[in-house]
């Protein structure tokens, strides 16, 4: 039943995003841009939710995976799309998205392996370190443009690709979490030793969470790169990671719908509050502190039953 419903949702999302794409050039470009950012942020926040919310591995390096995906795909399309015709661009872009995701997933594996030995604050700061190392390396690679950035990326992202990816992420995560196999994720999060004792391999769960999460962050990075057509390392600093973390926390770690809602809310909010842009981060951080003290389960989630009121545990 659950799977059935999610297939209908997925199919509906694909059809709707395809139909919207046919009329997307009629939309006001400003609103269109916000809508695209909403889609990309849904992908980023949902994929981080898998790592932070479901598997309980607090990661602060999501922007690093995004950067890997963005640069990988940008190198691919910028090199090849000049010779390709419009028709060839579609499979080329699909390939670029896939490659961006796969290379990011490899990096996710590299980060996931040390995560087996680390917990909580150590893991947070190590992933932050990984993200920064990726950024510094990109900054020093000349063929990627270094600190000047990478230009000449064809504008291939459209409504269809962005929301297809968003629907795919939600589809995969909700089915994964409701499957027998996926029940292992919250089990490892809530009590690793107890999970191990009933035969769950916590190693596999953690590494899979990182690899899957990083894959979609990479795809999101690729979508982003092919929308803005210019990327530089500063766009993927740990401020970006922090922004995604805030989305997950406000939505409620481990809540699929909550995180989607907060990704939408936190993309629109800064645009509405544009006149008070300098207060944005102050408001974000205050919100974070207040939510942690009063509603640690997030804005959109009911407290869970049990010994501990909070969903998050180390």
């Amino acid at each position: 039943m659950k799977l059935h419903k999610s297939i209908i949702f997925f199919a509906a999302a694909v059809v709707v995003s395809f139909l919207v794409t046919l009329v997307e050039h009629r939309l006001n470009p400003y609103y269109f841009q916000i809508i695209i950012y909403i889609g990309i942020n849904i992908v980023l926040a949902s994929s981080l939710n898998l790592i932070n919310g479901f598997a309980g591995q607090f990661s602060l390096g999501h922007a690093g995976f995004m950067a890997v995906g963005a640069y990988t795909s940008a190198v691919l399309t910028a090199k090849m799309s000049s010779t390709a015709t419009m028709l060839l661009n579609i499979p080329l872009f699909a390939l670029a998205l896939l490659c961006g995701g796969i290379v990011a997933a490899v990096f996710g594996l590299l980060v996931g392996i040390p995560s087996l030995r680390l917990k909580g604050d150590y893991l947070a700061i190590t992933t932050l370190g990984f993200g920064e190392i990726i950024r510094v390396i990109v900054q020093n690679l000349d063929f990627l443009g270094g600190a000047r950035g990478f230009t000449g990326i064809p504008k291939l992202s459209n409504f269809f690709w962005v929301f297809l990816t968003a629907a795919t992420v939600i589809f995969i995560i909700s089915n994964l979490i409701n499957s027998t196999y996926g029940k292992a994720y919250p089990a490892v999060r809530d009590d690793e030793i107890a999970a191990e004792s009933i035969g769950i391999s916590s190693t596999r769960v953690k590494v899979m969470a990182f690899v899957t999460g990083a894959f979609f962050a990479g795809v999101a990075g690729a979508l982003y790169a092919h929308f803005v057509t210019y990327i530089n390392p500063a766009q993927f600093s740990f401020l970006k990671s922090f922004e995604i973390v805030v989305m997950v926390i406000i939505g409620g770690m481990g809540s699929i719908l909550g995180v989607v809602l907060s990704a939408i809310l936190l993309t629109i909010l800064p645009e509405v509050l544009r006149t008070m842009a300098q207060y944005r981060m102050v408001i974000y951080s205050l919100l974070l502190i207040i939510i942690m003290i009063t509603r640690p389960q997030g804005l959109f989630m009911r407290p869970r039953f049990g010994r501990h009121k909070a969903v998050v545990r180390v």
Binding site: D121, I125, G129, F130, E132, I193, F242, M292, V312
Partner: protein, 301 residues
């Protein structure tokens, strides 16, 4: 040869600043078992207190270094202590019995609040920290020139570290601190007021951060509200390197990190300066997560 000596001196003076910040991390970790992410931003506030205070104090003392510097140092240390204690009271205390991840996220929130609140109050553009330490050199041979700046930094840092060591190991308050870090419950059964000790730890940590900030700003005089992020993260790495929760470890870790960083930026490339600390962190966590002086702790069910 002379360049090598020079790099070592620069490394030690940078490293002793990292050590001061790292001591704050390590003490708070020892007592509360969480990383106070906002520590680097308390450091930043210390630099800004110095920035606004120095002209006033100089007008009062006439610019005599031996008179000016201690006044600024003490006021900045008091200001940051107040800030540290307030943060602990408002943000961390309500969460004390909560899961550690909740506290960690709150600490990140506090950190960003100070950074961007700082941008609103102080303005986002970098400011030039006034020169207090007289220029010139103490040692000037053909091999090596040691400026007054480096000497003041190293001497101040080591004096403060000795003072901290005295407080922690030779006073009643320090004994209580060590008791609390060993076991909260048992310590409170022995009549120790946990809240007071935690506040006191924040006073010590934050005032060391303030001192570190003034020294740092006298070497790198450009200050801005985001300046605390990297020194803060690097000092954390130093604390982990030495074994978190261990005072001597934090000092040694700070020195190692400072010297390594100076060498990398001197001999390889300064653009890798910020990445080196994280690489050290990852290596340490992979091969010896308890740090140089740390003891291995077994996980219990």
């Amino acid at each position: 040869m002379s360049e090598l000596l020079q790099q070592i001196v620069n490394g030690i003076s940078l490293g002793s600043i990292y050590a001061l910040i790292a001591l704050g991390y390590t003490m708070i970790y020892g007592i509360l078992r969480f990383i106070n992410f906002a520590h680097g931003d308390v450091f930043m506030v210390g630099a800004f207190i110095g920035y606004y205070l120095t002209p006033q104090v100089v007008a009062f003392t006439g610019g005599n270094f031996l008179l000016t510097a201690p006044i600024i140092l003490v006021v900045a240390m008091l200001g940051c202590s107040l800030l540290g204690v307030t943060i602990e009271k408002l943000a961390y205390r309500p969460l004390r019995s909560r899961p550690r991840l909740t506290v960690l996220i709150t600490a990140i929130g506090v950190s960003f609040f100070l950074e961007y609140g700082g941008q609103l109050i102080f303005g986002p553009d970098p400011k030039l920290f006034p020169t207090v330490i007289p220029s010139g050199s103490v040692i000037n041979t053909e091999y090596i020139i040691v400026g007054t700046g480096s000497i003041v930094v190293i001497v101040t840092a080591f004096t403060l570290m000795m003072l901290l060591r005295f407080i922690v190991f030779n006073t009643k308050m320090g004994t209580a601190m060590r008791a609390v870090s060993f076991d909260h419950r048992v310590a409170s059964l022995m009549g120790i007021n946990i809240d007071t000790i935690i506040s006191f730890t924040f006073v010590l940590g934050s005032s060391l951060a303030a001192a570190a900030a003034l020294l740092y700003a006298s070497i790198y005089p450009s200050i801005n509200p985001l300046m605390g992020i990297f020194p803060g993260l690097k000092a954390f790495v130093a604390a982990v390197l030495g074994g978190i929760g261990n005072l001597a470890g934090a000092a040694v870790g700070g020195l190692i990190l400072g010297v390594t960083e100076t060498f990398v930026s001197g001999y390889i490339s300064s653009s890798f300066r910020d990445a080196i600390a994280f690489s050290i962190l990852i290596l340490i966590l992979l091969f010896k997560p308890s740090g140089i002086f740390g003891r291995h702790q077994r996980e219990k069910v």
